[in-house]
């Protein structure tokens, strides 16, 4: 029983990073009704860029690494927007999708090329702290990951619901044409959405690196899939859905890893997705059906 609670809590804490990735997918979907398959790869890419700080200033604090990852993620988000969305006509959703897959492969290969495919160590905060309650422990670094992720989500929600930019973003996501007629530059809002999701992704990548202790290019595919699963389970386009689903998937996979081992774990996560697709295809927070 204790094992169960322990792995569940570790998983839920780690799941906050899945939630961030899920939010990134869901936000782009909400605003543009497009899928950006390169998102998770770009996030890991951002996290790698964070490590550049250590190359320039050996011994820089982890926070500087995280911040650099954050910025690099935003930049990568903008690059993805330019490469895969800006110039391709809206009437060709397949071309956009394919371009993001190309971007996924490109980012992946750049990472492999630059690191020779070897995992790199990633700095963390509080990784020597352990909170104990009897047999039950909370790892300090996981707690840090969780707190940082939650702060980012709060920041995002504040941005979306308290600023003009957020208002414009929400307007575009509901009625792009009407928003355009109101003088909102849709292209600009789309680009900003990519930068914002990119910033979130950079942090998510850094947090994953921090909690695992290493970064490896092998992370990108599973992270893409987990992020997508989180998006579906939460309901495409729903931010609260992505948060809840992220924590859920994190807890679920951690518990199954405990009982079934690491190679089988992901199979069960896929199974969870299929259960949702069959019984609740709209996800946890399905958007209300409209008249048209």
């Amino acid at each position: 029983m204790l094992d169960f609670i322990q792995s569940l809590s570790d998983g839920v804490l780690f799941g906050a990073t899945y939630a961030l990735i899920g939010i990134g997918f869901t936000l782009v979907f909400g605003v543009m009704h497009k899928l950006n398959l390169s998102y998770a790869a770009a996030s890991v890419g951002g996290a790698y860029c964070g490590l550049l700080v250590l190359k320039v200033f050996a011994g820089a604090p982890p926070l500087a690494v995280f911040f650099c990852a954050f910025l690099a993620g935003g930049l990568l988000g903008y690059i993805v927007y330019l490469a895969c969305f800006h110039f391709i006509p809206i009437s060709n959703p397949l071309a956009t999708l394919m371009a993001t897959v190309g971007m996924l492969l490109l980012v992946d290969e750049v990472i492999v090329h630059q690191t020779d495919g070897m995992p790199l160590n990633y700095p963390a905060l509080f990784d020597d702290v352990m909170l104990r309650a009897g047999e039950f422990t909370l790892r300090g670094d996981l707690l840090m990951v969780f707190v940082v992720s939650i702060l980012c989500m709060a920041g995002l929600l504040a941005l979306l619901y308290r600023t003009r930019l957020g208002l414009a973003t929400r307007a575009v996501s509901q009625q792009a044409v009407a928003a355009q007629l109101c003088g909102i530059r849709v292209g600009q809002v789309n680009a900003m959405t990519f930068v914002i999701t990119g910033l979130l992704g950079g942090i998510a990548g850094a947090m994953i690196g921090a909690s695992v202790g290493t970064l490896s290019p092998l992370l990108t595919t599973p992270l893409t899939i987990k992020g997508l699963i989180v998006t579906v389970i939460g309901g495409l386009g729903s931010i609260p859905g992505a948060i809840v689903a992220g924590l859920l998937v994190g807890g679920f996979e951690s518990v199954l890893q405990q009982y079934r081992g690491v190679t089988e774990r992901d199979l069960y996560v896929m199974l969870l997705l299929f259960v949702f697709l069959v019984f609740r295809p709209g996800g946890l927070f399905a958007p209300k059906e409209g008249r048209d």
Binding site: K288, G290, R291
Partner: protein, 250 residues
């Protein structure tokens, strides 16, 4: 005996009662008009009859058969075809192919076996489709992609596509929208011909010169409810209808 009967049909979207307790009876051979201001629930009614949304309550009976459990494509096979308010053609198929893919009626089933129906080439059905194209004045445009047709031609093609399904009842959702007077005259002729061939017509329309000139009976909707029904003359004289159209404080 009624061909189509709507019995206190309702459809709510959240708090909006798009259609609210609507009763309609359409007799075979009629041209039945459904009019009302924007947002009064006309298009929703068409969507409910073809099964794009489930009913919130009530029932729809077509030829003594309750349609509730039938999905859209099976409703077509019982003989209900439609056109769309905002034209929905298969743009990257030719005009000819648009009619070809619509041949899904039980009559087509009876005429052709499974393999010739699905895997057969264009030669077997050339004549039937030519007739329909002729009827719609599109014979010379048959190999054009539907997306490249002019607006009026697209409307005609959509009507022909609905006819290609050999309907008993055809639902026309604002077929005259965006047409000039001459085109409306042609449309009127076509609607009368369709009826003469034995197909019942439900005409949802804004253009009064068409509705008043061609229908046998009209129902008027406002805020999802029927506020009047009768012959065109009766409806034009109705006080509630005038109020709904011309406005007036309540």
């Amino acid at each position: 005996m009624a061909l189509l009967e709507l019995k206190s049909v309702s459809r709510h979207f959240g708090g909006v009662r798009a259609v609210d307790g609507l009763d309609l009876v359409i007799e075979p051979g009629q041209i039945f008009g459904l009019i009302g201001p924007n947002g009064s629930g006309k298009s929703t009614t068409v969507n409910l009859i073809t099964g794009l949304f489930p009913l919130t309550s009530g029932s729809i009976v077509f030829q003594n058969e309750d349609l509730e459990k039938l999905p859209t494509h099976l409703r077509l096979q019982t003989g209900i075809a439609r056109t769309f308010q905002n034209i929905r053609l298969f743009g990257q198929l030719t005009a000819w192919q648009n009619l070809w893919v619509a041949q899904n009626s039980p009559a087509d089933w009876a005429k052709r076996g499974f393999f010739s129906r699905w895997l057969g080439g264009q030669s077997g059905v050339r004549e039937e489709i030519s007739q329909l194209l002729e009827f719609s004045g599109l014979a010379h445009r048959q190999d054009e992609l539907a997306a490249n047709l002019a607006f009026g031609e697209q409307r005609r093609l959509e009507l022909a596509r609905a006819l290609a399904t050999r309907p008993k009842l055809i639902l026309l959702d604002e077929p005259a929208a965006g047409m000039n007077t001459e085109e409306i005259g042609q449309l009127r002729e076509r609607i009368l011909k369709i009826r003469a061939q034995g197909t019942t017509v439900l005409l949802v329309e804004h253009v009064m010169e068409l509705v008043m000139g061609v229908t046998d009976r009209i129902a008027v909707l406002n805020f999802g409810q029927k506020i009047a029904e009768g012959t065109p003359v009766e409806v034009q004289a109705d006080a509630a209808v005038r109020k709904a159209y011309l406005g007036g404080g309540e």
